[in-house]
Symmetry: C2
Subunit: 277 residues, 2 copies
């Protein structure tokens, strides 16, 4: 069996940057998981004593906190900044800071704010907290049906969403609003990983997507792969592999979410090779 | 045979307003045809002595000029304003003034301007003249392929264009630009006439679209009708009717372009009734 990695996969710019910042902050605590990958979080704990707090209410005598790639709400940031003797290491991905600023500025200019994303996602909760007026979060075009559309609308997207649904949302709004200001805040890395996974899944007869099962962008990769290659599997590590999946297969394609470190991918590839298929 | 008029058809707000202004300006000259309907232009000439000049170079000793619904370029307006003793009656439709202002303002804010429309159309030529920077005019999404897309783009539409192609254009841009400011300058009247023609053409077994053959919105109505009802005809007046078209037909649907006066529609209906079918 041939093994082929997608042309683009794995760690994005923002995640690489956050991990570097964490490695330079021995003994710090992150507010929420730094990235959506439990294995990498364990490694940072072991090697750099970087702890993970569930939320700011778990803070006690910390000296250094790390804000994760997804960002944090404006209110929580203010709370942290007001704490004396607390060093804040802000590892919010710059591609997430962008929609935060856009939402703040557009709400000041009296645009109604619509965010394309999942309301439960920490990135979206951070972004929406920057609006000075009420915000609508929609995860699909149908969600717009219950909203009274204003004349002037600003739209941003969660960085890890798919462009196709974003376009449907914009088209729907275009038919109903007079002015729409659309900021394409979908991250290129996500898009490039998606395109590469799409391409590879069209020729592979089995696809492995490696990443955290709670990672939004990993799940998107899995859905894309599944569309083209019915034998697609989402795994967090080599421990979940099942040799029977690969019987009779000729090409195994591999992609990985933006929070999946290379060392996990390497372990999966090593296990596959050990099968001798 | 039953005759049914579309729920919405004919004269729009801007055309009604322009004709009223012309009727109040006895002896004035319009720069270009006031509206795209030669019969109505003849009536204004006969009843109100309103003449039609091809362009500003035909001006001689006129005392009053009327700017038609489509508007005029910024340069031509300036030229007219500089003429002493010339009264300017500006009948530019307010829905056309809007994209003119948007294009001027957006180009001042350094947005690259894209106009969805036909470059030959006088409305588009007027609108594009208000940009302080180069403008791209596209009539379909494929036209964008030769353009190097800027990061910040402002998009307006010719008032009489169809929303579906506008949405395709916006989607294409969304995948390539960081910010798009979309102004839906498509006129509701056009849209409502189109929707009503679509609805009626689905049940009619013959459709008549009445309007100028050089009128963009009339041609759009005809294309929509033709999609649903193969026996669709575009006529300028009752003189073009052919009784054989109606043989064996049960429901004749009628719609009319935004520059078609009611008196022309009434004559068509009267002719149809005279057939006694």
């Amino acid at each position: 069996m041939k093994i082929e990695l997608a042309e683009k996969y794995g760690f994005c710019f923002g995640v690489k940057r956050a991990i570097k910042m964490a490695q330079n902050s021995y003994g710090a605590s992150t507010i929420g998981e730094l990235i959506h990958n439990s294995k990498e979080i364990d490694r940072l704990k072991e090697e750099y004593n970087v702890k993970t707090l569930k939320d700011i209410d778990e803070l006690s005598d910390e000296k250094k906190v790390i804000i994760r790639t997804h960002g944090i709400t404006k209110e929580k940031l203010k709370y942290l900044e007001e704490k004396k003797d607390l060093e804040i290491i802000n590892a919010t991905c710059p591609f997430v800071t962008k929609p935060q600023q856009i939402v703040e500025n557009m709400s000041k200019e009296n645009y109604e704010i619509i965010i394309f994303g999942d309301i439960e996602h920490p990135e979206v909760q951070g972004v929406m907290s920057y609006s000075l007026s009420p915000v609508y979060v929609v995860s699909k075009v149908e969600d717009l049906e219950n909203i009274k559309i204003a004349k002037k609308i600003a739209v941003v997207s969660q960085t890890t969403k798919k462009i196709e649904e974003f376009e449907k949302i914009v088209s729907y709004l275009l038919e109903r609003a007079k002015e729409i200001r659309v900021f394409n805040t979908i991250c290129n890395a996500t898009f490039e990983n998606q395109e590469a996974a799409r391409k590879l899944s069209k020729k592979a007869d089995i696809m492995l997507i490696i990443g955290g099962k709670n990672s939004s962008n990993t799940k998107q990769l899995y859905l894309i792969a599944k569309q083209n290659c019915p034998s697609s599997y989402l795994i967090e590590s080599e421990a979940e592999l099942d040799k029977t999946w690969f019987e009779g297969k000729e090409l195994c394609g591999i992609s990985a979410g933006a929070s999946t470190p290379d060392w996990i991918i390497e372990k999966v590839v090593a296990s596959l090779k050990s099968y001798g298929l």
